[in-house]
Amino acid sequence: MRVVICIKPVIDNYSTQALQLNKKGYAVNPYDQLVLKQLLEIKKKQNFELIGLCMGSMKCQDMLFRLLAGGVDSIILLSDMAFAGADTYATTEVLSKALIRIGNVDYIFCGAKAIDGETGQVPYELAHRLNIPVINNVSNIMSMDGDGLQLERQLDDLVQEEIIASPAVIIGKHFTTEEFTVSLLSLKRAKNKKMIIWNHERLELLPENCGIAGSKTKVKKAREINRFRKGEIMKGELNLVSQEMLKIIKG
């Protein structure tokens, strides 16, 4: 059985400060991270091939080696200047070509959304490009063997356990900010594992169909939403500060 997990690298910025990446640069999108964690959990018990598929800059390699060390069998990094600035349309153009190139993929896993762009559209567009079913709101992956994939979906307050035949795109529901720990030894070994890098030529894609050029949306303007308040410092003895606080509370 061959399983691909799509991994979006997210960079350290205002919204991802949470991940405390200040020095590391790139991290796995927390929604993808949870799916990955669940897959690696099952991989301990059941045998299948797990491929990580990531479109991003060459600088993502450190992050990706950690995934190899954590138990992912191989990584395909789709990296090309021509891929930069892609919207969901151009992203799925590249990802779908890569998935066809990989071939014989039973299940494609994706996180619910990325914490930067937050569109949540990529997995659906991917499924429609590949013309295969898509299963969303997957809260847990229970097993993966010859009988197919067994998973748990959470639809509002309804929990549903299902068996899904292949092929299908599977979309997670939740996220985690917890990175899995990898030992130094496994990290060393991972450096010997293969990181495959594909560019547009390798995927027989025209540059004009990728990245910004191949996108069908354009950001005209973007600005940070200002939520700042006056932040008046309450100084003085603690008992006086407390009295002041209680006054504010009483209104």
Binding site: Q121, E125, L158, I163, K218, V219, R229, S242, M245, I248
Partner: protein, 322 residues
């Protein structure tokens, strides 16, 4: 202001949501023609959309039991017929799926989760990204139509306009592709764990973060909350640590609150938390790190150890009452 513009609103089961989208589409003015496409098994409840200004209704019969079907055939036909400048979908799970299918099949750009749409020679879509911390304006290009999914309860439903029953209604059916084959539901049950904390009515809320999450501090804070009549809520971090229930998590992936007073104890002020307290009248932050981002989002900053502050507050309340 604009040339003739055609808008197609894709309507699913949620009537208010459908009418919100229709109302927004109509609000672009007299030069717009709005068609509603009802993707439903039962259309009775929805067939009066012309009263809200829709000029054509297309009912596409789909079988209820299918979560998914191939929209492709329908959408290509309707697209040839209507040639809309804009497609609007609800940003529900199903709406997202249909929008993706339409975008792939018609090779159009799609903007997700819009919170506003403007028109200046082209449609300009407004959405937030990066945990609601960035507001972006996006346009569609290199496609015959623009496409968007629209968030719920953003647009107002305009009152009914037309008193006649003269909308043209067309019926068609969908080439169902049964994706349910090879799919089997083993078990279904209601998750009874979900209980709703009453944070929406609270006037005062104490938010606890990792800096205020050991047992001694929590016990003291609960005591103080009892005195003052405050509800307890907190960050994702303390939910992960099992200190409070998920229904009390405030922020992007939790609830959004709007009390009169919010006091953040030992909370760093991550963007994902801050979006949830935005509507609070007065925010006081207690943190011992004077550089903590939370201070920038607060009205009042108390740079101190939260346990000492809680002790002092309890002391003052016990002394003077509140």
């Amino acid at each position: 202001m604009m040339d003739k513009v055609k808008i197609c609103v894709i309507c699913l089961d949620d009537r208010p949501w459908n009418l919100q989208m229709i109302s927004k589409a109509i609000s672009f003015g007299t030069n717009v023609t709005v068609s509603a496409i009802l993707l439903r098994s039962d259309d009775k409840e929805h067939i009066d959309y012309h009263r809200y200004g829709v000029s054509e209704i297309h009912v596409v019969n789909i079988s209820d039991s299918l979560e998914q079907f191939a929209l492709t055939g329908i959408i290509t036909n309707l697209n040839d017929l209507l040639k809309p400048d804009l497609y609007m979908f609800p940003a529900s799970d199903q709406g997202r799926d249909f929008a993706a299918e339409a975008a792939v099949c018609l090779k159009c750009g799609l903007v997700a989760d819009c919170i506003d749409i403007n028109y200046e020679n082209e449609f300009i879509f407004v959405r937030t990204t990066n945990s609601d911390s960035v507001l972006a304006e996006i346009v569609c290009c290199n496609g015959s139509s623009a496409m968007c999914t629209v968030k719920k309860n953003i647009f107002e439903i305009l009152p009914q306009q037309i008193e006649t029953d003269t909308a043209r209604i067309h019926y068609s059916s969908c080439d169902n592709r049964n994706f349910l084959q090879g799919r089997q539901i083993l078990r279904q049950y209601r998750n009874t764990d979900i209980n709703e904390a009453s944070l929406s009515e609270a006037r005062i809320i104490f938010g606890i973060g990792r800096g205020c999450s050991d047992k001694i501090k929590i016990d003291k804070l609960r005591k103080l909350a009892g005195y003052i009549g405050a509800e307890i809520a907190g960050t994702r971090a303390v939910v992960d640590d099992g200190i409070i229930n998920y229904d009390r998590q405030v922020g992007q992936s939790g609830v959004r609150i709007a009390p009169d007073i919010y006091i953040a104890f030992g909370i760093s002020g991550a963007a994902q938390h801050v979006v949830g307290i935005d509507k609070t009248k007065t925010i006081i932050a207690v943190n011992r790190d004077k550089e903590a981002p939370i201070f920038r989002f607060a009205d009042y900053a108390v740079i101190a150890d939260c346990e000492e502050v809680i002790d002092s507050l309890i002391n003052e309340v016990e002394r003077g009452g509140i």
